[in-house]
Symmetry: C2
Subunit: 500 residues, 2 copies
Amino acid sequence: MQQLETYLASRKQKHAYQYALWLLSWDQETETPDASLQYRSDQIEVLSTLLYEVEMSDARIEAIDYLALHPETLTKELQVEIKHVKKELDHLRKIPKQEYIDFQVLLSQAGHIWSQAKQNNDFAAYLPTLEKVITFQKKMVKYLQTDTIKGYDVLLDLYEPGMTVVDYDHFFNTLKTDLVPFALKASKVVQKAPRKLTKGHFPKAQQIEFNTYLLDVFKYNTKKGVLKQSAHPFTSGVVSVDTRITTAYHEDDVRSAIFSTIHEMGHAIYEQQVNPAFDYTELKGGVSMGIHESQSRFYENMIGRSPAFWDVHFDKLVSTFPKALKGVTKDEFVRYINQVKRDYIRVEADELTYSLHVMVRYEIEKMLFNGKLKAKDLPKVWNRLYRQYLGLTPKTDTQGVLQDIHWAFGSFGYFPTYALGSAISAQIYHKMNQDLDIEAVVRANDIAQINQWLKTNIHQYGKLIEPKDLILKATQEPFNPQYYVRYLIDKYSRILGIEA
Amino acid sequence: MQQLETYLASRKQKHAYQYALWLLSWDQETETPDASLQYRSDQIEVLSTLLYEVEMSDARIEAIDYLALHPETLTKELQVEIKHVKKELDHLRKIPKQEYIDFQVLLSQAGHIWSQAKQNNDFAAYLPTLEKVITFQKKMVKYLQTDTIKGYDVLLDLYEPGMTVVDYDHFFNTLKTDLVPFALKASKVVQKAPRKLTKGHFPKAQQIEFNTYLLDVFKYNTKKGVLKQSAHPFTSGVVSVDTRITTAYHEDDVRSAIFSTIHEMGHAIYEQQVNPAFDYTELKGGVSMGIHESQSRFYENMIGRSPAFWDVHFDKLVSTFPKALKGVTKDEFVRYINQVKRDYIRVEADELTYSLHVMVRYEIEKMLFNGKLKAKDLPKVWNRLYRQYLGLTPKTDTQGVLQDIHWAFGSFGYFPTYALGSAISAQIYHKMNQDLDIEAVVRANDIAQINQWLKTNIHQYGKLIEPKDLILKATQEPFNPQYYVRYLIDKYSRILGIEA
């Protein structure tokens, strides 16, 4: 009992520090005046150090080790929680402290070096830093690997517990054989959008009005969150009762803010609907990156980009932008927001080709960590894979291998969860559609029903159920990428009027 | 040297906690979603406890006591800082811990009880709580008093170091003899404002535009702060590089947001202009409530309500509200924003009568603490004093003794600083006007010159110089309420066209 009390007391302090650091980060992205950045960064350093001292205190470590060995004394929820924190703790213990600190220092500089290199299309300037990051990641893999999880799997497991190279290979191979040929064909269809859409001007004030309207359409709970603006849209959740989102308005593109807002609402509704009793535990929040992305993509693509959705909301859109959208038809708009276009840039990719961008990164990471690829050869391999899967060759490294920040942050193993999330969302859609007529629900503007289904089957559990088990429980079968391929081919063959 | 290092290390942690708590408070007033209030309050409790532990750690206390006894080892700035923290520490040490905690619990309930009583015009419901608060305040006076500071002076000194009953009596007696007769006469002048002003509609979007324009006019540094909205306007500063303000927009009153914004900019420009080297010390921020209020009132009344100011900015105001202000003249507007009206409510009082409201509260507090008044007799005495100084009798306790929250918060000794600040601002105006032609500077829309004067003579010093010394240094003479009386009589005899 005393060990449990020690653990709970340390958790209370840990959460208070995390809450303060969370708010500092939210404020920094949305409001902090420029001149205060140095002062703020000094305070963050102090608070982070205090948090680290709490997390790594001898008494807490002893308590966690003890409780992990004596789960029978704990509730079911606490057993899961202790398993999570024990895993985190073991990771921290396995990495020598000085190496960990050196790596954090390296990362704190790498982002800036990457950004300069991208701006100057200068891969060579980035290479030495990238090599150091990879070297550390390889060392980390060695420190963290166990009898059952080895090599690149160690990194994959950090972002999506339970997923391995075997699983991802199966997934991406399915895409390669079943989706790539269709995507290449689809991207060749000529898709023209009205000039009013592609060259229009959409004033920010009206965009704010429409995006605020969307909060209500999706029943994003504004008693548990806010919508604000930032340079890049993001969701910032700390507990179910405080999960905030941002969007970014671009006056030359009416789509951008709309689909960012819906995407972030997907992330946020997930966290808002976690069992509120978990707020004070480590079971709060989403369970993995893949499950999280499955929710954001579900709302963004499967609801937000569906023709049924715009059957209900297109009139409101037109009345919000009466001048800019005069004469544009609903069908033109739906085709516009579902345009397929081979592109060099992942973050600008459409729904159909998005996962193929991710596949390139997955294959590269796999080769880096099984020794088949050296960092210096990255541009060459990157371009070859883009040619192979997307049918185009980047003209510069800036629009090629330098486009993403993730590797500079040491986030190897993260990319695959983006594609995985999209694929999971299709499987969820399939199952949900057996319980609800999703299109009819969307046409009835009753998305609360969809939220309720997701709450019951996924959201409420927070981190209580591991991702693979959660998929099984929610959809009654293990992850199956065929739903995703079928969904995409079905949707785009209809929209583009081509054969599957 | 080791004691100094101990102290500096504790200061670093203290500032990090204070920064987190400051941001939590700012966020709570401007953005926090409702449902998170309980969770947030739990985190605040943890962080406050951690802060208390840092502040009251044996090592820190020992270090402060040591350094206070050995000032010769310290820089001049650190000597002042240690004097400040020693004073705070002594206060905390003199009050028995349990009594202090009991009082905090009482205060945490008193606000709500006051609010209910005010709403229901039920002084009797509030009386038992108020009596308890006063009883504690009297005990606190006993704990804190020294050979030189006794009785009510102990409370006055908490908000305005160095000010005593003798000083305030001199100040308020001057108002009583030299200002009250004029104010009563002035308030009888019939002052009509155009219906366009009193019954107009001023859309929020345009108000935001005009208030944003004012930020630039006053050179509020938006690299060191932001303007946001909240239920009640306030300034929230933590260091010179992060001093934020809010305003509140009322669509039926164009004045409200304008003068709130200018008032809060006065507070904020003060803190923004403190020597930035003080950001990491206890010398940051303003030195006292009175000096702070002198800055906000200076900007709000002496600049913002001056005819010269509207010579420059009235056209912009009209062009922002072309419909609402069509046909209104600049002179009508200047008279409107300087209307004199006897009122029951302090926060709605005009510049001329404002200090008389404060005088009522000062006299009452003085009597409460020298034993000449019991809490149960407050309504009777309140109404008598309003009749005497403002020539009117409140019809209910809601518009009388129940109107302010301060006493429920235990803030006895605070009110007088409001009037003191206004009076100090007149003395500053007089001195500044010898160095600059203020009206000409305002007409040239060059308020940066005024900011610079205040920075050089007042702001830069932060808490380095005690209030009384600061006034002496900045104006070359001790505080003298005659400047205030003369300023008011001069201004209002001109505006109202009556004799002084």
